[in-house]
């Protein structure tokens, strides 16, 4: 017996970006989508947020880059990526043939970086939207500083908004003191959607070597350990935007 349970799970993120369902894979966990094609049917996802993309290629941080911690893990990849030109050349043509939309996660060291990457992504087949990564804890410059201050978050959001007509999502950091103020500022600056949350900076020690376990000392905490924090952020943000 088959029962027709046609439930509408679609989600409208604005500017024409309608997801068939609300299941998204977070940036960094899923590469460019192609890597998992052998393992799962990626076309069933609501959307894929691809690996953080910067203006120029980055080699990332020294290994080890991941380590397990109680009920979670730390990662410190350091935004390794081939740069926006490399991503557009290598992956966008394949994305264009997929049913599942790909939202390109964009990272930068300055407002100008973000704007330039957004400009290059604008109108490219296969790019369904932009997620501003203003909350990466694993890079020296840029990243997190934009996610902790409402004015800085608004500045980069507005600048990117002016540079592209693509649907624009901004990713929050759980490290912000007043997440409501950040969310309000981002919404006012023209973002279509907010994603929550990035990882929280942490570290782990190899007791025998008496050294940090990660090559970069610090890493971003994710996993079940972070989920209650993420839920609190979602709860607070949902009340104000």
């Amino acid at each position: 017996v088959t029962v027709d349970v046609a439930v509408d799970l679609s989600v409208d993120l604005g500017r024409g970006l309608v997801l068939r369902n609300p299941v998204l894979v977070a940036s960094g966990t899923f590469g460019y989508g192609t890597e998992y094609a052998d393992v799962v049917d990626i076309q069933r996802l609501g959307a894929i947020c691809c690996k953080g993309t910067t203006l120029r290629p980055r080699v990332g941080n020294a290994p080890p880059r991941v380590t397990e911690t109680p009920a979670g893990m730390l990662n410190s990849i350091g935004l390794q990526n081939p740069g926006v030109a490399g991503v557009l050349e290598k992956y966008a043509p394949r994305w264009a043939s997929w049913d599942v939309p790909v939202i390109v996660n964009v990272a930068g060291e300055s407002v100008e970086d973000y704007v330039e990457v957004a400009r290059r992504l604008d109108g490219q087949p296969g790019v369904a939207g932009i997620e501003l990564n203003i909350s990466c804890p694993n890079v020296g410059k840029g990243g997190l500083q934009f996610a902790l201050d409402p004015e800085a978050a608004a500045e980069v959001t507005a600048a990117v908004r002016a540079a592209t007509d693509l649907p624009l999502m901004v990713k929050l950091s759980p490290a912000a003191t007043d997440i409501r103020a950040i969310a309000r500022a981002i919404e006012k600056a023209g973002a279509d959607a907010i994603s929550a949350v990035n990882t929280l900076s942490g570290m782990a020690i190899d007791l025998q070597r008496r050294r940090p376990l990660l090559g970069n000392t610090y890493g971003g905490l994710s996993g079940p350990a972070l989920k209650p924090v993420a839920l609190r952020v979602v709860y607070e943000v949902a009340q104000v935007v």
Partner: protein
């Protein structure tokens, strides 16, 4: 590549804190190649979020069985060691790129340090099945950690060294390599990073004068892209590398090692590399 449950058939601690487990995993046994690995999750979700990578120690197409060999080093391996026959583990695989054996190769030198035996062990079986001669050089810290010769096929020649001299040659396993390098058409190694670096240094010092590389001087294309199967086959030394791993399918970029062409994913470009692909000192 498939993600399926594999039933544990047999488990034993064959050396102090070192375990050998046999699983029923026909999909792995039928498609795996020597050098590939499997990503294993314990059946319990409590707190363990990452799968653990293990070399496919042996695999048997006839029986559909695979074995993994590990030392208890943390919570994941502790959990695995507590499993009992009849329990299941979730296995993703086979993963990674295999060792590349040149068709012309007659003599295979395998160098293993400690748990590195698991990385080259399946190559012993395939080499013997293909009618090649195999010499395994094995290094351990002390006699109680020496891999038992009874776990190797009798056709394989086996030479042991221990750091403290309590069994076999006293010293590093790499010290044995010069005695056998001229005999070996190809060399395959797995073990601690310093051991692999010492081997790579030795191989570099004899560039082009060892193994099947000499045979490729005449005819055929002279150069193959770094990292290609052809280039790896022509390299005298291939190494199986280890790194903390996240997804094991190439997505998270967690398991990289430094390569001469930039970061290399152990799960995707590796775990086997030609020695000249790796930056042995420094990073990037």
């Amino acid at each position: 590549v498939k993600l399926l449950a594999a039933e544990l058939l047999e488990t034993r601690e064959f050396l102090p804190r070192q375990w050998l487990q046999t699983y029923s995993a026909p999909w792995l046994a039928s498609s795996a190649k020597p050098g590939q690995f499997v990503h294993v999750r314990t059946p319990d979700y409590s707190g363990l979020v990452l799968r653990r990578p293990f070399s496919l120690n042996t695999f048997d197409r006839q029986t559909g069985q695979v074995t993994i060999h590990f030392r208890i080093t943390g919570r994941g391996t502790e959990w695995l060691a507590r499993m009992r026959p009849g329990d299941s583990a979730e296995m993703l695989g086979p993963l990674g790129r295999p060792f590349e054996v040149d068709p012309k190769t007659r003599h295979m030198l395998l160098v293993a340090g400690g748990l590195g035996m698991a990385g080259v062990r399946s190559l012993v079986d395939s080499a013997i099945a293909d009618g090649r001669q195999v010499l395994v050089l094995f290094g351990a810290v002390t006699a109680s950690d020496v891999y038992p010769s009874t776990l190797l096929p009798p056709e394989a020649e086996y030479v042991v060294s221990t750091d403290d001299g309590s069994f076999g040659h006293a010293g590093r396993v790499t010290e044995l390599v010069p005695l056998h390098e001229a005999w070996a058409d190809q060399c395959f190694a797995c073990g601690p990073q310093p051991m692999l670096a010492a081997l790579a240094n030795l191989a570099r010092g004899r560039d082009g004068r060892l193994g099947v590389a000499r045979l490729n001087r005449r005819g055929g294309p002279r150069s193959a892209p770094l990292g290609s199967p052809t280039a790896r086959r022509r390299s005298w030394l291939q190494v199986s590398m280890e790194q903390n791993m996240g997804c094991a399918v190439g997505a998270c970029l967690g398991c990289v090692v430094g390569g001469v062409d930039g970061p290399q994913r152990v799960c995707r470009e590796g775990p086997v590399f030609a020695a000249n692909e790796i930056r042995w000192e420094g990073w990037a």
